[in-house]
């Protein structure tokens, strides 16, 4: 009993990442216009093709409407009240970490993200993004030896413009949806990963996103390309300070795999979720999509969604190459007044493509948690197979669990199976564990982690432990 922390110890903790770093930032005026798009582009000294991409997206965005089909409710967002660019005031990106503002390094240390050399013990390369810009990327030299490019997307625009021009916006076109268009117009930074032909990335790559300003939106863009036979595992973590206003986070993530390549993308999302009365918190409107372009390629999404006031997120796979594989493993936990509408789309285009969907939703408090999924089998996807499972766990009688799995099939030589169940923490299971001397809250926590086991097994080791703890913390004694 001494080794494991019980829920009651954890519940008394407030959101521990809720601090604000007092650092001078370079912000532009709030509001969005063509001039703002041009200003962001010029601040980043971007080439003409990228400015054109942004302007085209901005014009498309003006004609689009905010989607309203999700089971979400929030007051209208005033897009003119948001600051679209904020950067901690420091010189050009440093060659050495010694020159980075110590306050920033301290911030990431507090978050448990070691950037300074002596603390980098684990074999993980990290790109740290603070508000709109990337602060530091670790292990770059070691990665470069293998030909792996891992840098912020603004650096990639400068150093590898041909790769950016070739791949940016090819998976999520700028007019894909309202939030993707907004992101395409104003995206500030994010990570770029390129794994050349035949290379297995020697270490885990990771990006850590931090929103610091209260009135800034974060619009990052991530692009990962794995060439023939390459493979990579990528982790993403997110936190934000506590404010009683809502901040907008509209990211776009694009993954491309060529023949025999594989990308594993894991997210532990813990943006500030607002307080128990639903005041404050992040609006997390994210478009994530992977494109299996090559034959026998593989894209796997694993997500643990615990934060954000509102989550609108559907990491998807377009399975174009023959025999390509898409996977989606998700745990979404909502508590208090959080709302999550999340799920995936598996679009089977090529023959013998396979996909697996495992989604676990846990709703507590007065929250609402929806799974929304699409499995589409195109006319050429002969022999395609999909298996989906989505389970919901309800804690308390005021939480909502919704399931909207949608299947469209146009190929008789394909098989699609979907099953779903709803359960709660049953009294007999609790009684059994308690009769064995396990405390009530620890028993709950054990059962929740058992419920999520299928997904946690997919996470890299360090993240799995963190995710387990995070869930226990987030439940905040909502049982009993």
């Amino acid at each position: 009993m001494t080794t494991t922390t019980s829920v009651s110890d954890l519940v008394s903790q407030p959101y521990k990442y809720g601090f604000v770093t007092d650092i001078e930032t370079d912000k532009i005026d709030k509001g969005l216009s063509e001039d703002v798009v041009r200003l962001i582009s010029s601040k980043k000294n971007e080439p003409q093709f990228l400015l054109d991409f942004r302007l085209r997206a901005y014009k498309q965005w003006l004609r689009m409407e905010e989607p309203d089909w999700a089971a979400l409710g929030h007051p209208a967002i005033d897009y003119q009240e948001i600051i679209y660019y904020a950067a901690p005031r420091q010189q050009e990106k440093k060659a050495s970490l010694d020159e980075v503002d110590p306050k920033l390094l301290e911030t990431f240390d507090k978050l448990g993200i070691p950037l300074s050399e002596q603390k980098r013990l684990s074999n993980v390369a990290v790109d740290a993004v603070f508000d709109s810009v990337s602060i530091a990327t670790t292990y770059r030299e070691k990665l470069a030896e293998h030909g792996v490019i891992f840098c912020s997307i603004s650096e990639a625009v400068k150093d590898h413009p041909e790769l950016i021009e070739r791949y940016l916006g090819t998976v999520v076109p700028s007019n894909d949806n309202f939030f993707a268009a907004l992101n395409s117009a104003v995206f500030s930074d994010g990570s770029f990963v390129f794994i050349p032909k035949g290379v297995e990335c020697p270490m885990e790559l990771s990006t850590y996103f931090r929103i610091n300003s209260g009135d800034t939106g974060q619009f990052e863009r991530t692009l990962i390309v794995a060439e023939e036979g390459a493979s990579v595992s990528y982790l993403e973590g997110c936190t934000a300070p506590m404010f009683d206003t809502n901040q907008l986070h509209a990211a776009v993530v694009e993954l491309v795999t060529l023949d025999d390549a594989s990308i594993k993308y894991s997210t532990v999302q813990n943006w500030y979720a607002g307080d128990e009365n639903g005041v404050g918190g992040i609006y997390n409107f994210v478009t994530k999509r992977g494109h299996c372009r090559g034959d026998r390629s593989h894209i796997s999404w694993t997500q643990v969604e615990t934060g954000s006031a509102i989550t609108w997120k559907y990491p998807s796979c377009v399975l174009q190459g023959a025999d390509s594989v898409g996977e989606f493993y998700s745990v979404a936990l909502t508590n208090n007044l959080q709302q999550a509408d999340t799920g995936t789309k598996m679009v089977h285009v090529g023959p013998r493509t396979r996909s697996t969907i495992v989604s676990k939703g846990i709703s507590a408090g007065r929250s609402s948690n929806s799974y929304r999924g699409l499995v589409q089998i195109g006319p050429k996807a002969t022999g395609a197979r999909n298996y989906s499972q989505c389970d919901s766990m309800l804690i308390g009688d005021q939480a909502a669990a919704n399931t909207y799995p949608y299947i469209r099939s146009q190929q008789p030589e394909a098989s699609v199976e979907h099953e779903a169940s709803t359960c709660r923490i049953s009294a007999d299971q609790l009684f059994y564990l308690q009769s064995r001397g396990i405390g009530f809250e620890e028993a709950v926590s054990m059962m929740v982690s058992g419920f999520c086991r299928d997904v946690f097994n997919q996470l890299p080791m360090e993240f799995a432990a963190e995710a387990d703890k995070l869930l226990a913390l987030k439940l905040e004694g909502s049982v009993g």
Binding site: A400, R408, S409, Q410, P412, V416
Partner: protein, 421 residues
């Protein structure tokens, strides 16, 4: 471009509705007030568009292809000649009869007609409870239906009631409206047969109120051919310990859309919904069901089966709502689909909304062709591939058709659905 197209589509849709309304005879008869209301509503809301979530998968092209000059006329007496003789213990009512559908027949014990005042009180009540009184297909029916068959069920009715309606020939609009009030402990079995051919439109609205401990077994056999279209709406209110068994089978319509909506007003009731729809040729078969539990301990058992062959499209959207009051609900929903041809399409979308923690809700969906190991087994026993496939399809359909009232047998539903007649 898209905006321009949808604008012109909207203009065409509203032109269709306008012409339809202009060609309707002046409101008259017992439903005069309802007709006025329905027409006014239709003039305000033109055809549903695919931009509405509820109609996203339903292409109404087959409906608008019908001449808007549809006239709700009563049928010539010759029509019933080709129907099979009703089985023993079955009371058949011809809903489109030029005169009184009851002409020359007395209702079986336990059944009586509602009087005009009662109809006025009860009509639309269940539609409102099910929150669909302003739904487009319902308004279409209200605008055009000249009469309603309104029955009170006050005891256990032994014979099966068979309601037959046929829209035969071009330019026929057949609006059918039925109202059933089941009192406490009453019980009724109904078989409804809807036939359609030519450029015709059948519009069906059934309302049923099930009192405590009452039982309604409702079978609907909807058989169309050619360009005929079918829009059906079943609204049921269930009081505690009542039982609803609804079975629906359809085939052959250019467009069919059936919308069962069930509300368990205080829970504790049992609902069973079974459906089978076949779409081949260029047909579109659509079922949009919604079951809502407003009290605890409700039961739902739903099975939806579909076969899409040739260039047919099958759509299923099944909503189940379990709000906080509906503790200890036990609901299961299964959607099983056979996709036979590679130009056919299946869309299936369950929707579960649950806000109660002590519930059991499960749903499942499968889409595939016939199982190869099952085909292989039959072929290894000496059956040809075609016979084996036919046998498996037959088995797939039987599971639902078996649940139809026994009175359906003379109509030979299996043979009709499989196109063997």
């Amino acid at each position: 471009m898209v905006a321009a197209m949808s604008n012109s589509a909207a203009v065409a849709a509203s032109a269709w509705v306008t012409t339809f309304l202009e060609r309707l005879p002046a409101p008259v008869g017992e439903l005069e007030a309802v007709q006025w209301r329905g027409r006014e509503a239709l003039s305000r809301q033109p055809l549903p568009s695919r931009r509405q979530e509820d109609w996203r998968f339903t292409d109404l092209a087959a409906l608008t292809a019908l001449a808007p000059a549809l006239a709700p006329a009563l049928a010539p007496a010759s029509e019933q000649g080709r129907w099979p003789e009703p089985a023993a213990g079955v009371v058949r009512l011809w809903l489109d009869a030029p005169g009184d559908p009851l002409a020359g027949q007395s209702l079986p014990a336990g059944l009586s007609l509602l009087d005009a005042d009662e109809v006025q009180q009860a009509l639309g009540h269940t539609l409102a409870t099910c929150n669909c009184e302003q739904h487009w297909p319902v308004e279409l029916n209200q605008a055009s239906a000249p009469r309603v068959l309104a029955l009170r069920v006050s005891a256990v009715v032994a014979p099966t009631l068979e309601l037959v309606s046929q829209a035969a020939g071009d330019g026929v609009m057949r609006p059918v409206r039925v109202l059933l009030l089941l009192e406490e402990k009453a019980s009724l079995e109904v078989l409804q047969v809807q036939l359609g051919s030519g450029s015709s439109l059948t519009s069906l609205v059934i309302e049923a109120h099930l009192g405590r401990e009452s039982t309604l077994r409702h079978g609907l056999l909807a058989l169309g051919e050619g360009p005929a279209c079918f829009l059906g709406h079943l609204a049921v209110e269930q009081e505690p310990r009542s039982l609803l068994e609804s079975v629906w089978a359809s085939h052959g319509w250019a467009l069919s859309r059936f919308e069962p909506r069930v509300v368990q007003v205080d829970g504790e009731a049992t609902t069973s919904l079974k459906a089978l729809q076949l779409a081949d040729g260029q047909q579109l078969a659509d079922t949009h069901s919604r079951v809502e539990f407003r009290g605890p301990e409700g039961q739902l058992d739903q099975l939806h089966k579909a076969i899409a062959d040739d260039r047919g499209r099958s759509v299923f959207n099944g909503a189940v709502k379990v709000p906080r009051a509906a503790q200890r609900t036990n609901a299961s929903q299964l959607s099983r689909n056979l996709l036979i041809s590679n130009q056919a399409r299946i869309d299936t979308k369950p929707e579960l909304e649950i806000v109660a923690d002590d519930v059991r809700c499960a749903h499942g969906a499968t889409v595939s062709r016939l199982q190869t190991d099952e085909l292989f087994y039959l072929q290894s026993r000496g059956l040809s591939a075609a016979v084996a496939a036919g046998l498996l399809k037959r088995g797939f359909c039987e599971e639902v058709l078996r649940a139809l009232p026994a009175a359906a047998a003379p109509w030979r539903p299996l043979q009709r659905l499989l196109g063997e007649i």
